[in-house]
C-alpha cells in the first residue's frame, strides 16, 4: 500500500517518534484466568517449536545455534546472543506462544520487557510489559508494531504468563513485488481479542513508513531487544500450518 521498496532519500530526516501514536487510548481489560495461567498445549497436528526441553527448532540470525537460556521448561532471552528464529519457514499458520516478564522488571515505556514475535520474519507482533506502563498505543503489547494498536490492553502483571494465540494469513505478491493480497492477522491475548483480522500494510520499520518487499515462507523470529530491562521468557510454543 503506502510504500514500495524505494524512496530512500525521501526518508531522510524521518525520526522514530513520527510513527508513534497516542490516541485513542487503549482500554485496560483484566483478562480472565485459566487454572494454571497457561493456554492449550500442542494439538496432535502441530509442530512443537518449544516444549520446555531444548532449542533444537531454533537458530540464531546467522544460522548458527540458538543460544538463549533454557531452564525449568522455559527459554529466556540472552541479550548477548541476539534474535533467534525457527529453522523451518512458514506461510499461513496458527501460532501459540506464551511469554512472561520477570516479577522484578524495571524500566519504563519501550525499555521494559521489550521483545517481539516476527511473523514470517517480517511483521512484528509487539511483546512488552504494558502492565501499568505507558507508551505509544501502536507500540504496546498486542500491537502490530508501529502500525495498529491492540483493541484493548489485556496484560497480565509481571511474573505471570501472557498467552498469544495468533492466526496469520500470508500475503500473495504480484510479479512487480507489490501485494496482490495483504498479510492479515488475528491475535488473542490471554483469551481477549486484540487484533481482529487486521490488515498488515507492510514491513515493521522502526523509522518511517512500512515497506512492501516480496517474500516467500519465513521463520518465526523472537527478538532480543537491546533495552536494559531484565530479560523475558517464553514457553509452550507450537504452530499449525493452515
Amino acid at each position: 500500500m503506502l510504500a514500495a521498496a524505494g524512496g530512500a532519500s525521501a526518508q531522510e530526516g524521518m525520526r522514530p517518534e513520527m510513527s508513534e501514536f497516542y490516541t485513542p487510548v487503549t482500554t485496560v481489560v483484566a483478562p480472565g484466568t485459566d487454572m494454571q495461567g497457561g493456554g492449550f498445549t500442542a494439538p496432535s497436528d502441530a509442530i512443537v517449536l518449544f516444549d520446555g526441553s531444548d532449542l533444537s527448532a531454533w537458530e540464531n540470525s546467522q544460522g548458527g545455534p540458538a543460544e538463549w537460556t533454557v531452564a525449568d521448561g522455559v527459554m529466556t532471552v540472552d541479550k548477548s546472543k541476539g534474535d533467534i528464529r525457527t529453522k523451518e519457514k512458514f506461510d499461513n499458520f496458527q501460532l501459540h506462544i506464551e511469554w512472561r516478564v520477570p516479577e522484578n522488571i524495571h524500566g519504563e515505556g519501550q525499555a521494559r520487557g521489550n521483545s517481539g514475535v516476527y511473523l514470517q520474519g517480517m511483521y512484528e507482533l509487539q511483546v512488552l510489559d504494558s502492565y501499568n506502563n505507558s507508551t505509544y498505543v501502536n507500540g504496546q503489547a498486542g500491537s502490530i508494531y508501529k502500525q495498529t494498536a491492540p483493541l484493548v490492553n489485556a496484560m497480565r502483571k509481571p511474573g505471570e504468563w501472557n498467552v498469544y494465540d495468533i492466526i496469520y494469513t500470508a500475503p500473495v505478491f504480484k510479479e512487480d513485488g507489490t501485494y496482490r493480497s495483504f498479510p492479515r492477522v488475528t491475535v488473542i491475548q490471554n483469551g481477549v481479542l486484540v487484533q481482529n483480522n487486521t490488515t498488515i500494510i507492510g514491513t515493521t520499520e522502526y523509522i518511517g513508513f512500512p515497506k512492501v518487499r516480496a517474500h516467500g515462507a519465513g521463520p518465526i523470529l523472537l527478538q532480543s531487544h537491546g533495552d536494559p530491562s531484565e530479560p523475558i521468557s517464553f514457553r509452550n510454543i507450537w504452530i499449525r500450518k493452515l
Copy 2:
C-alpha cells in the same frame, strides 16, 4: 448471495440431504490439554452469560423464563423446554462457551449430542458429538451448519469439555435487504482453529439454500434439539462486544 427471501415454490421437493456434503473428509486432530480442561474465564469487560449459578441472562423462545437444568455450576438442556436465548441482543462480538456431551452418550450421526449456538439467532455454529461419529462434514461440530465444514475435527471425547472461542462480525444490509457485507466468523475449538474468518452466506436452513433476511442485533440462542440422545451441558459462557 445465493438466495433472497423468495423462491418458495421453487424450493418444493428440496430434501435435507441435498445440502449435506461428505467430502473432503475432515482430518481428526487431537486437541492439546489445558490444565483443568477449561478455557479462560471472563475478562473484566465481558458480559457474563452463565457463570454456573443461574439462567438470569436467558429466556425461552416465547420470552418466558429459561428453564433448563442448573446444577454443579453447569446448565443442561431440558428437551421439554425448547431453545433458550440471551435476553440481550448483540452485533459484533467475541463469545466464549464450553459444552460437554455425557460420557454415556448414545446414538449416531446427527442423533448424538446435537445442539447449536445460533449467532444473532440466525446462523448456527453446530454442536454435536463428532468424536468417532460420522456424519456429513458440513454438519459436524465446528461447522457452520449446512454451509462450511470445520477445517479439522478437534473434538474431545464424551464426558470432557469442549471450548468454543468465537469472533463474529455482523452483516451490514442494504436498503433492499440484501447484504452489503456478509457475516463472518472465526472459531477456535479446544485451541484449534476450525473456522478462519469464514463468510456466512445466509441463514441456517435445514432444507434448501441459505436465505438472506435483513436483521439487526440478535441473541445468542442455544438449541434444544429433538434427537433422542442424552442431553448436553454448557458452562463458562461470556461475551465481549467488539
Copy 3:
C-alpha cells in the same frame, strides 16, 4: 464454502428450479449512451481476443478450430459448433467484451438470447436478453448464474450492443482442494455497476449447489446455448492480466 466435490447421491432429486430465485426484484436502470454504443477499445497492454477479423485466439471445446461466424467485424454463435474458448489461459484479469442479441429476437425467459461468459472456464457471468424479459433474478443478464443477481438490470434493447467490463480475482486453493481465498468479480454493464466485488462461492451448476473444485489458470469460454432463439453476437474482446 457450501459444497465440496462429493455428495453426489445426496444431490439426487435436485431440480434446476431449486436454485432459481425471484426476489428481491431487480430494478431496471436505463444505461447512458456512449456516442457509438460501444466501450473502450483495447489499451496497449491488452491481449486482443477478438478485433473483428478472425477467431485465431479461440478454439472449440475439443481443442479444434473455433467455427463461429465472423462477418462485418462481429462474431456470431453457430449453435451447431458448440462453445468456444480462448487458447490462452488466465488467472487474474480485466476483461472487456461486447454482445448483442438480434433486433428480431424471439423467445422468453431463459430461451431468449442465452449465452454466457465463463471466467476461468468455471464461473458463468450470464448473458441473456433481459430487456423486458422476466426470469429468475439470479439467471438474468449480469448475474453470476444461479448464484448472485445483478445489482440492477442495465440492459440495452435488442439490436443494441451491451458492454461488460469485468475485473476478476482468481481463487487461491489449499492443498485439500478447498478455497483459501474465493474468486471475486466486479462487473460493469453499459457503464452501470452490476456486480460489486462479489464473492463467487463455487462452480456454476445448472442443478444443485455450487461446487468447489481446485483449478489453475483457465480460459474465457463463450457459451453456445441450446435455446432455439436467434443467435447472439460478440465484438471488441480484450483482456489485461492483473
Copy 4:
C-alpha cells in the same frame, strides 16, 4: 490502521517528501479509444452532478455558490475561488467523472494540472497531468494520494479527456472512532483498471501519516490546487448510490 487522530507533537519535523515514493515505477499503458473520447452518460438512476449547463449541484467550501467557469458544456477551475463540493453528501457510490488538462499545459511534477477528486470529502483520488510527467508514484494521476500508486499509468495526453469510473465503499466506524471496516475503492481510468478494490488506510495528508477520523456521509470535492499551471476542466459528472 496506522494513525489515530493524535500524535500531533510526534509529527513535528515531518516533511511532505517523507510520504512520497518512487518505486516500483508505474508502467505506461496507452488507453484505447472510445469513439468520441468520452465515457458513458448518466444512466437513469444516477444523480447528475454536472451535465454541462450549470453548477447548481455544487457549492464552495464555505457553503456559498460554486463559482468556477462554465462554458461550452465544460466546467473549469477558477483558482481564485477555491475548491468546490457537491451540496449532497454520499456514502457508497459509483461515480463517473471526466477531466482534461489544457493542450498547452506548462509545469512539471506536481505543478502540472494538479487537482483531485475527494471521496466523501476525505480521501483524494489524484488528478494530475501524468502524461510524460515524472513525479512520485503515489502522487500521479490515478493514485490514492500519498498512499497507493495506480496499477499503471493510463493517461491521455493534454487536450484529451480522461475518464474516471469510481466504485467506492464507505468505511464503517466503531464507537471509539476507529474503522470497523476501511474505505475501499476501485478506479478505472480510460477503460483501464488503476485501483483494484484498494483499501484506503486513512485521510489524505500532505504531510505525515494518514489519519483515522470518524465521519458520516460526505460530499464529492474537486480541488482547486494552487499550482501555477493552466487550470483543468471537468465534464459529464454523475453518481449512483449503491
